[in-house]
């Protein structure tokens, strides 16, 4: 023990030595490059997928077809019939709640947690939604949202309310799947040419208003809204996707110099309106629910190539979501 302390002391002393001042020329270089470096307000990291050559894309696309076919066959109802629009089961009014009871969160450290989630643990997000109806933000309303992590590998970044997972070799540097709670006050009418296309007046306040508006949004592929239940709250589910290989070069971009992309939601966290970005092959299952008067969106995103197991974990997280009153705030009046 004493020897360990000695080594630590020596290492600490040694680390104190050496350079520490950042040369002015480095700082000047950084500041010179700011005008040419647009800030990124996406929910979504730069993707490596676009950097792949065509042969690799074709190979991955072929593999994806095989995987989807295998998964699709496995998901077909045993009594026959047609599989749903997505490759995975989603919560619905006809489905049973998760078989295991979700334990009540007892650790304060699990509230608004950042870092790597522990499998089997329940976490809490407490983040009020903005009062304005023209904006979107990460939030869960006046109360709190709990969810349970089914397996290892999921983490919460410092940057946003995401329950994310990065697949080694996947399409994203940060997330190949995530679940994130959103407040959506308005959307763009055109997903590709979204500049200046905010809906006026803003999309209506109900679940159906938003589901219908997303379904009719120009540009992206969208499934018809279907009934769903999340955390005991009825709502609508809609599947949004960007076809792989779609030419987005003519789409609008976030700022000069940044990549063109799709914009769906008018996004605002106090620094102006920004789009909700979609990339090549991205799929989002949007669960739109009314939670005690606040219309929330649970966005479950995945990129091409994620495994059926990872996708099932994502579904389990969504199925585990519960909404409850914050301990610090009184329960809503009936």
């Amino acid at each position: 023990m004493s020897a360990d302390r000695d080594v630590s002391r020596i290492v600490r002393s040694w680390l104190e030595e050496g350079v520490s001042a950042l040369p002015d020329r480095v700082l000047d270089t950084v500041l010179d490059q700011l005008p040419a470096t647009p800030q990124r307000r996406a929910l979504w990291p730069v993707r490596r997928f676009r950097e792949m050559n065509n042969a690799l894309k074709l190979a991955i696309a072929a593999l994806a077809v095989v995987v989807v076919a295998v998964v699709g066959i496995n998901l077909l109802p045993k009594s026959g019939g047609v599989a749903g629009p997505g490759p995975s089961p989603t919560p619905s009014p006809t489905q049973s709640p998760p078989p295991t009871q979700i334990p009540s969160p007892t650790s304060a450290s699990n509230v608004n947690f950042t870092g790597t989630y522990v499998a089997g643990s329940t976490y809490v997000i407490e983040e009020p939604c903005p009062p304005a109806v023209s904006a979107s933000a990460y939030c869960v309303g006046a109360g709190r949202m709990t969810f349970t992590i089914p397996a290892a590998g999921w983490y919460a970044p410092l940057e946003a309310w995401r329950i994310g997972k990065d697949i080694p070799g996947g399409g994203s540097d940060l997330f190949d799947l995530y679940v994130t709670p959103l407040f959506v006050g308005n959307i763009y009418t055109d997903g590709c040419h979204w500049h200046g296309s905010e809906r006026i007046p803003a999309v209506g306040p109900t679940v159906d208003d938003l589901a219908t508006a997303l379904f009719t949004q120009a540009g992206p592929d969208a499934s018809p809204p279907t009934a769903v239940t999340v955390g005991g709250h009825a709502g609508k589910k809609i599947e949004l996707s960007i076809p792989e290989g779609l030419d987005m070069t003519t789409c609008d971009s976030d700022s000069p110099g940044s990549d063109p992309h799709f914009g769906r939601f008018v996004f605002d966290r106090g620094y102006g309106a920004h789009p909700y970005l979609h990339g090549d092959g991205q799929h989002n299952t949007m669960y739109i629910v009314d939670v005690d008067g606040t219309r929330l969106v649970i966005d479950a995103m995945y990129l091409p190539g994620v495994s059926a197991a990872d996708h099932a974990e994502q579904d389990q997280i969504v199925a585990s979501i519960r909404f409850e009153s914050s301990p610090a705030s009184p329960a809503p009046s009936p």
Binding site: E17, T116, L158
Partner: protein, 182 residues
Amino acid sequence: MDAELIGRAQRGDEEAFASLAVAAGDRLHAVAFRILRDTDLAEDASQQALLTIWRDLPQLRDPARFDAWSYRLLVRACYAEGRRTRRWAPNVRLLPADEPAVAEGLSSVVDRDQLERGFRRLSLDHRAVVVLHHYLDLPLDEVAEVLGVPVGTVRSRLHHAMRGLRAALEADARPAAQEVAQ
């Protein structure tokens, strides 16, 4: 770090970011140098980290976590430099000429050489844990948050790294001491 300054920089205020960069630059560069053990690589990593901080700053959800967040981006930049250059082999000392001859607790130049060699043999993952914990004095749970790994992983990496450094100090200690004595 000044939350108001961070807020302005998040909204695209370049002057505010310049103030942030001045305030954080030395600290980031010091950490980069200690992980990479190479002045040029550390400058490249610091430069890249500062530009990434500018680019992604609007996504930082809690300005109070700016320091931890910036360390995370810096460590990523160090990893990128490490992968790009692969210049880890030379066992040369890189201490500047104006460093103190003997630091408190560091008995001799032999210890420094042995530590330098031992540290360079560590992976970047292990180096980052040692620097964040023993240089920045971050508790292990904060190191885990910065690196985005479980605390248990941090503890394991730190144990492995310190064992390697201890072995480096002990290895050749007797012959080296005799050599110095001569």
